[in-house]
Amino acid sequence: MRVMQRLRLLPLAALFAAPLPAQTPAETPEEQGLAIAAEADRRDIGWQDSKAAMKMVLRNRQGEVSERAIRVNSLEVKGDGDKSLIIFDQPADVKGTAFLSYTHATEPDDQWLYLPALKRIKRIASANKSGPFMGSEFAYEDISSQEVEKYSYKYLRDEEVDGLPAFVIERTPQYRHSGYTKQIAWLDKEHYRVLKVDYFDRKGAHIKTLTMTDYRQYLDRFWRANRMDMINHQNGKSTTLEWDNYQFRNGYTDRDFDRNTLKRAR
């Protein structure tokens, strides 16, 4: 489950393989939007694999707080979506539960859940994209690998976010079972990092806003937001993801993302 800011390697990206000056005038807003997404994707090729710990803080309307802790291992897959393994540490009753997913650009993802009490691996339905992830305000589709082909794009305007010049693009999900009709994303012009996303539900109402902050650069190249705040405007709840201890190029292979490893993950 590579997070938000990365967009996927794909043949389209090769069209823009030469670093694309941000100012290149594309013919239509759609082509401009796609060019921005493809450039963001191109800049995040080559990280190979990563692991990180994540703390999730859930707040309800009354301000009550509950916490979750997970660990995420990810593998970059050339020519397809990423593979990821999520290990649940908190709350205590789900400790040892693990989730394996193979993301695909256009095909449905492959997902398995390991239930430690029964030692059972369950293949789960790939249609479940829009539901809450661990009871949070993040949907699975918000935190799964963001392939370029998953959306169609439209460049809207330039705008500053907290003093940073940014592109504003509209993304329309192209995959089935999305919970959104569209998303508006702000990417900073210098590094093509997603700074903010507005989500619009199936009725077209603005339901959630995500802000991504505390960006840090790894291997002198790859930017990762260490804090993500999702606010749900309809139910008054919010969720904060705090990432910690990112480590890249651990030498992971497909073998570290198979069902035998899923059963062993603790």
């Binding site: 859930l58 309800n60 509950s66 916490e67 908190q90 709350p91 205590a92 009753d93 789900v94 400790k95 040892g96 449905p108 492959d110 029964l118 030692k119 059972r120 691996i121 369950k122 293949r123 789960i124 339905a125 790939s126 249609a127 479940n128 829009s130 539901g131 809450p132 009871g135 949070s136 089935r176 079972h177 919970g179 539900d201 199936r202 009725k203 651990n250 292979t253 073998r255 198979d258 069902r259 035998n260 490893t261 062993r264 993950a265 603790r266």
Partner: protein
């Protein structure tokens, strides 16, 4: 306290100590209190209509080499108010494992699950069922084994040498949810002269190909699923003696995952307990995600259960349908409920159950369970449970 638990050899303790590079154990687990109330008076005056019970299952785990080497130790203990057989201890796990590119080796007491269906776990055979825990059969006793997994592009081949046999647990004279007459575990009859020291073998191939998850398995050894013969105890009580025969079982389990649909099938054929028998369970699960524009998921499960085995060997599911709904609130408390009924198509008879759970706080989880046995035919193996409808609440503290 009656110890039915497997007592591990000294070699295993040595293994646990020697292989652990003293990285410090990770401790987790739970303790829980459970209360059961039965809605009808028991058939046997020795039985009770209410029951309290406490259980603990801590887990110590060690891992090193970035998780490629692990040791797990999971003891289990239950103390039951009324049933001496349900008061028991076990070692659910005490195992060391090492993972390499092409193989994994796992040694010690472990639990292994095979299968895909919801209403019955037909092909799951490695571990013995801890029946006293819950009539749903999902609780298992630890099984000592050597398990070598060979990992190939064309699937994983698991080889099992099962060192010794675990007898099934059964409720005692004062326990509910049992047969009448009761099963006396001290009267077990084995076909093999090696009895519970018989070494069993199993091999399984499993693979995922696109939307399909496939498993094929072969088991040779002592049946986990005994027949019963009536015998008379020295004190004159008529009881049932479990008969553990040597069997050969071939099985397949298949799941196809198509969008919101899960299609599932488990099938087996077994020889060694009288005539060759075959059995199958198959069906689907369909989930409506995000019902009514809420985070709520509603799953519908339907499965058909078939076996040609004679009633004398006590499988109640020879021509039955399971229908159930699973409700997942997707809230911060992880609230879920599963309501389902198994209906006998040939005779009358219906077994309905409700299982629901909700996290109360970071550490506390409340679970509710209810089972009802309706319109049972006197010829149905479940007829013996006709007075055992119950409601159960369990409060667990997880750490």
């Amino acid at each position: 306290m009656k110890g039915t638990g497997y007592r591990p050899g000294a070699w295993m303790l040595w293994l646990a100590c020697a292989a652990s590079p003293a990285l410090g154990a990770d401790l987790s687990g739970y303790v829980a209190a459970e209360f059961r109330a039965f809605t009808s008076t028991a058939l046997d005056p020795r039985q009770h209509d209410e029951n309290l019970s406490v259980v603990a299952e801590p887990e110590w785990s060690w891992q090193w080499n970035d998780g490629r080497s692990t040791i797990a130790f999971v003891p289990f203990a239950r103390l039951d108010q009324n049933d001496d057989e349900r008061t028991h201890v076990d070692i659910r796990e005490l195992a060391w494992s090492t993972a390499h590119d092409a193989w994994e080796l796992r040694l010690g007491v472990r639990k292994v699950f095979w299968g895909v269906t919801e209403s019955q776990h037909l092909v799951d055979i490695i571990n013995q069922t801890d029946v006293v825990e819950n009539p749903d059969g999902e609780d298992k006793l630890g099984q000592p084994m050597i398990n070598l997994a060979l990992i190939n592009d064309w699937g994983t081949v698991d080889l099992f040498v099962l060192l010794g046999f675990r007898e099934r647990t059964f409720p005692g004279a004062e326990g509910r949810l049992r047969t009448h007459p009761r099963v006396d575990v001290d009267r077990a009859i084995f076909e093999s002269s090696r009895e519970e020291r018989h070494v069993d073998f199993a091999v399984r191939w499993s693979h995922a190909i696109g939307d399909w998850d496939l498993g094929l398995a072969q088991f040779h050894g002592t049946t986990r699923d005994p027949r019963f013969v009536p015998v008379t105890d020295p004190d004159g009580e008529r009881v049932l003696a479990p008969v553990y025969e040597q069997i050969n079982q071939s099985s397949a389990d298949i799941q196809a995952t198509k969008g919101s649909w899960l299609w599932k099938l488990e099938a087996l054929t077994r020889s060694g307990q009288g005539e060759r028998i075959s059995a199958a369970v198959g069906g689907f699960e369909y989930t409506f995600y995000g019902m009514f524009d809420t985070p709520l998921d509603l799953g519908v499960v339907a499965e058909y259960l078939y076996t040609d085995r004679p009633v004398a060997t006590r499988s109640p599911f020879e021509d039955d349908v399971f229908a159930g709904v699973r409700l997942t609130l997707n809230d911060a408390q992880s609230s879920t409920a599963l309501l389902g009924c198994i209906v006998d198509l040939g005779e009358s008879g219906r077994l309905c159950s409700l299982e629901a759970s909700r996290r109360l706080s970071d550490h506390w989880v409340l679970s509710i369970e209810a089972r009802q046995f309706q319109d049972l035919d006197p010829g149905d193996p479940l007829f013996t449970l006709r007075r055992d409808d119950y409601l159960q609440a369990e409060l667990a503290y997880h750490f």
